[in-house]
Symmetry: C2
């Protein structure tokens, strides 16, 4: 049973992603630590143990040790497996009469109780070594044992192979945290962030500056939580990022700023999003795009865990237009091909009416992707080199068949997906199909994306503005209004602002956006023109920023990396909730403490607010006295 | 003018505290960095300069450099002083016709404009060196110059000797940040925290874990900001500390946790307090008081800036009872004597009625402090060795005069302050008088507290409970309900809980509480007894914590250091606002962005709240359309 648990532990780490070399308790945190700090941290300083359970090896043979840990498992009242954050060790329960009290402690304590044991590190008898266990060559001959805390009620067994629902895991997070996977994720996160700090502070003179989280609501900040103050009607808000503050720090001559910044976004219920999240927030003066990109490439290279393979730099880059045309998205997963191919020219004179119609529209185009071995996956679709079963396809194949096959480099068993329409929507649809086909292919065992590959990509040259959804003749910022226009397009700002590209850049990893930033506007006049004339914003609300730009603002730029998402990709976790110690549920609840919760009206009085209860139902009001876990 | 500005800069740093060796632009950040990182950070990587202004020395002679900075000062269109975060450098404006365009740029740009210059590092002519300036041996012979941003409107001159009100400094914080003092404070803060991280992560295997700030209101959490959620009537709250989470991390087997944690406390208007503040938050398993104390002593020793002198360990410790009896406070300033002396025994049979009365009360006592040279300061008070001018004093002096003089070790010109009454209030009064006298003495030039001395002190053995103010027969936690009782006093818990001492400890520096922590209760039964029976709390609200303690919670303890206060004391800043980049005013306002601010009612709708406008006046409502700085 013990060994199967351990195997499960290892498998638990390796399975969901397939790219992590088998890891075992204890092997990891120390190796990461070593490479990062160039020293072995003392893990037993200041406490009532001499060693950790997981660090013991043959080199400790004969040593008298004191260990503290949790009773993981017990066999026949002879063996006991003790666990701490560093790993597992086997303990021999003494059987002689003189050690009856020790035996009693170790045999009577329920599993997951906390004990301290003292004894000698001895070799396991020949043939009883466990090569799967880092401590498998030794065991502890115990002389003294003390029960530090008895474990009473467990809502579920603490074994990784016992499948728990996520709601249960979140409600009893303190138990879930004892799993190898959660220990691994949180320790890797801590160590990777520490290396980032070394790189930024130690290698490049960045200053870690804390910026306020009690801020002022930004105009149109619909996703910002509000916090009532003690002044009637006045509210703070929790900022979505330290954007304004970091720019003001540049105006203040700080030169190089970074912060591991807590940010907030109220999006209601969104899967795999958190109302509070963390970003590595960076800003520099006198820098251009190339500078920021090199900085970030160096940062990731420096902080990357050594067991995840080296990070190659520089990262490739791609324009937004190219990303859209070839991958149908601004965050292409470049680990595999299946790029979108334009076939408009071949189909312009086709007999198929829908194609002719689509191609004659503005921005009209026909595009295709080739799904290798796609026939295996979606046999309902027509095969490229056989008879097509839709009338339109038949027309196309008859007329342009060979050309298409050649252009798409179609092989036997491949599938071609073809569509026509407005450029952006065609690309976008094929981009989504591309990813869905990749998932389907991999589910069938086709290796498409190397699980050990981390494919970084810069996406650049985004449009500065987008048409407003409600009124496409008005403009909104594609990212935020402080983004500088592309120097080559400045001349278009007054005539064709919709054509201006920006100095925004996104960092993409394996098809996920993990960072974004820009060179900012440092010229007050330009900033005012964009805010007032192009975006029709009320500039009074940003007057402090405009004033700052007029007070000797240096040219500056920066970036923010989404730490939760990055760590999620590095660890191969299936959700960002698995790299956060106490995440909220997808409905924004803390299932452990049941936050958010009702607050008595008298506690709201100092803040001059009252609850507007929904009028169509009094149900919510009644539930005041019945706190419940809505997700349990 | 330039040199006087520089002198002022230096004086500006040294004056308010007197203990900082004269420091100049550029000398500091690099020296701190060196000792901390054992490598020189590249300060000009990734950007459009080759060097910083402040780093240039004779060793750079002949080098072609490109610098970016602010025009600090210009003299006769011949010299210009350029400033960046690292310091100042003198630039020679070219006078020859061929460089007319360069001269134009450098002479026409307003002060505080941002320029880039390229040129050669040359020696200053003999006799023109400035030994007060780190770059004073060299100057830059400029060949090219570019105006990067012109400075238009400045609300005040950026010179440290121009006295600005704090409100103005906060409103234009981005200008205030350009001062040497703010640059110094923020950089020292960043570097000291970085060293703390090295010590905790690198030397002792701590894990940096981020805990949520969207939490649930704790029972009686009157100082917790509330955040409405999108569920009617339900609120998150901003926690005052990660206390519950860090204990749950220990239950989760994290073993060693730390976090530089943002915390929140809504206290309305309080001078020198901030609604959001930062603490170094630490928790360990299997630790006792001694362990935590050694850890913290090592932490401060390791992270202490080298130019502030070494930190001696271990720190002395004192019981709460002793601190009260000798210093009249739980945070004694041990940099100087003037301790409280009990003279009850000498006065028990005095002819002075008020003394007899006071001493016959329960806890009645008479105590005194000796103010050395106090006669100089408060000549209105009677002198110890002369005729006393109050009738009571006369009686006392006649009867016990010599004994008192001997007990108090009174010297010529000393003053003795004597009072009688209930022990605690007598001590407390004398404790306050002691500090006031020290201030008065120092204002008169008496050196009482060595300005270079950092006097750390542990205060221990606090009472576990205090009588409730409203009803002294009920108990409240002296600190928080998770604090473990002192092992020697456990037996009193059921009989005389008010006499039980706790395992709480405070860290005091120069009379300021800079940290506090405790060994926690890890036994669910004990925790329940204290919450339910002794404190009469509704345990349902903490059921998740009680359940966690019953699930194999290890013995654990921790501490939190107040980072803002600590950095304030280290830098010698006169207010914590001077060690925070963007602090709130004492009324809780961000004077830069004018937060908190009004929010349109429609933006409150998703949160199911509305403002309860005060009924006695409509004034606040009207001001909706007139945003103002109430403190300006």
């Amino acid at each position: 049973m013990f060994s199967s648990w351990l195997t499960q532990l290892n498998r638990g780490l390796a399975t969901p992603i397939g790219r992590v070399a088998p890891l075992i308790w204890g092997s990891l945190s120390r190796s990461l630590m070593l490479s990062s700090q160039r020293r072995v941290p003392e893990l037993s300083s200041f406490v009532a143990r001499t060693n950790t359970c997981g660090e013991l090896r043959s080199s400790h043979l004969g040593q008298e040790v004191t260990l503290c840990g949790w009773i993981q498992y017990r066999r026949q009242n002879i063996f006991l497996v003790l666990r701490d954050f560093q790993g597992l060790v086997q303990v021999l329960i003494p059987q002689d009469e003189s050690a009856a009290s020790v035996k009693k402690v170790l045999c009577e304590a329920p599993l997951e109780s906390v004990v301290r044991v003292s004894g000698t590190v001895v070799s396991r008898p020949l043939g009883q070594e466990n090569p799967k266990m880092p401590t498998g060559e030794i065991e502890i001959k115990v002389k003294a044992a003390e029960l530090l805390n008895s474990c009473k009620k467990l809502p579920f067994e603490i074994k990784d192979f016992v499948k728990k629902t996520e709601a249960l895991r979140l409600q009893y997070r303190y138990l879930d945290l004892r799993s190898f996977q959660m220990q691994y994720n949180l320790r890797l996160r801590s160590q990777m962030v520490m290396k980032m700090r070394e790189y930024l502070c130690g290698c490049h003179g960045f200053v870690d500056v804390e910026t306020p989280t009690l801020f002022k609501r930004t105009p149109g900040g619909a996703k910002e939580f509000v916090i009532p103050s003690r002044e009637p009607g006045k509210f703070y808000s929790l900022p979505q990022s330290p954007q304004q503050f970091k720019q003001l720090l540049m105006v203040g001559g700080l030169d190089r700023y970074f912060q591991v910044a807590r940010c907030y976004r109220d999006e209601g219920s969104r899967p795999d999003r958190q109302p509070e999240f963390t970003q590595i927030d960076i800003e520099m003066s006198f820098v251009d795009q190339t500078g920021i990109r090199s900085l970030i490439e160096g940062l990731l290279q420096y902080s990357w865990p050594s067991d995840k393979g080296p990070v190659g730099v520089p990262f490739p880059s791609m324009t937004f237009a190219e990303a859209l045309a070839s991958y149908g998205t601004d965050k292409p997963d470049t680990r595999f091909g299946m790029k979108i191919v334009d076939v408009s020219d071949m189909l312009r004179n086709t007999g198929a009416g829908f194609l002719r119609d689509a191609l004659s529209q503005p921005q009209g185009s026909a595009k295709a992707i080739r799904v290798p071995e796609g026939v295996e996956v979606l046999p309902v679709f027509p095969k490229a080199n056989r008879n097509w079963n839709s009338p339109v396809a038949k027309v196309v194949m008859e007329e342009q068949g060979l050309g298409l096959i050649r252009r798409m480099e179609t092989q036997e068993e491949d599938m071609v997906l073809l569509t026509a329409g407005e450029h952006k929507s065609v690309c976008s649809s094929l981009g989504k199909l591309r990813l869905e086909c990749a998932d389907l292919l991999e589910a069938r065992g086709v290796v498409l994306r190397d699980p050990a590959l981390f494919s970084f990509l810069w996406v650049v040259d985004f449009p500065l503005f987008l048409p407003k959804e409600e009124n496409p003749r008005e403009l909104v910022s594609a990212h935020h209004p402080f983004t500088a226009p592309h120097p080559s397009d400045i001349h278009l700002l007054h005539t064709q602002p919709e054509k201006v590209r920006s100095q925004h850049y996104d960092l993409v990893l394996n098809g996920n956006e993990i960072g974004g930033g820009s060179i900012r506007i440092h010229d007050a006049q330009l900033q005012r023109y964009i805010l007032e004339t192009l975006l029709k914003e009320d500039v009074r609300l940003l007057s402090h920023l405009l004033q700052a730009l007029d007070s000797g603002a240096p040219p500056h730029g920066g970036i923010a990396l989404g730490l939760d998402r990055l760590i999620c990709l590095v660890t191969g976790a299936s959700s960002i909730r698995d790299v956060i110690a106490f995440p909220k549920s997808f409905r924004g609840h803390d299932l452990l403490s049941s936050a958010p919760d009702f607050v008595p009206p008298e506690d709201l009085k100092p803040y001059h607010i009252q609850v507007s209860w929904p009028t169509d139902s009094g149900a919510e009001k009644n539930s005041l006295n019945q706190p419940q876990h809505p997700e349990s």
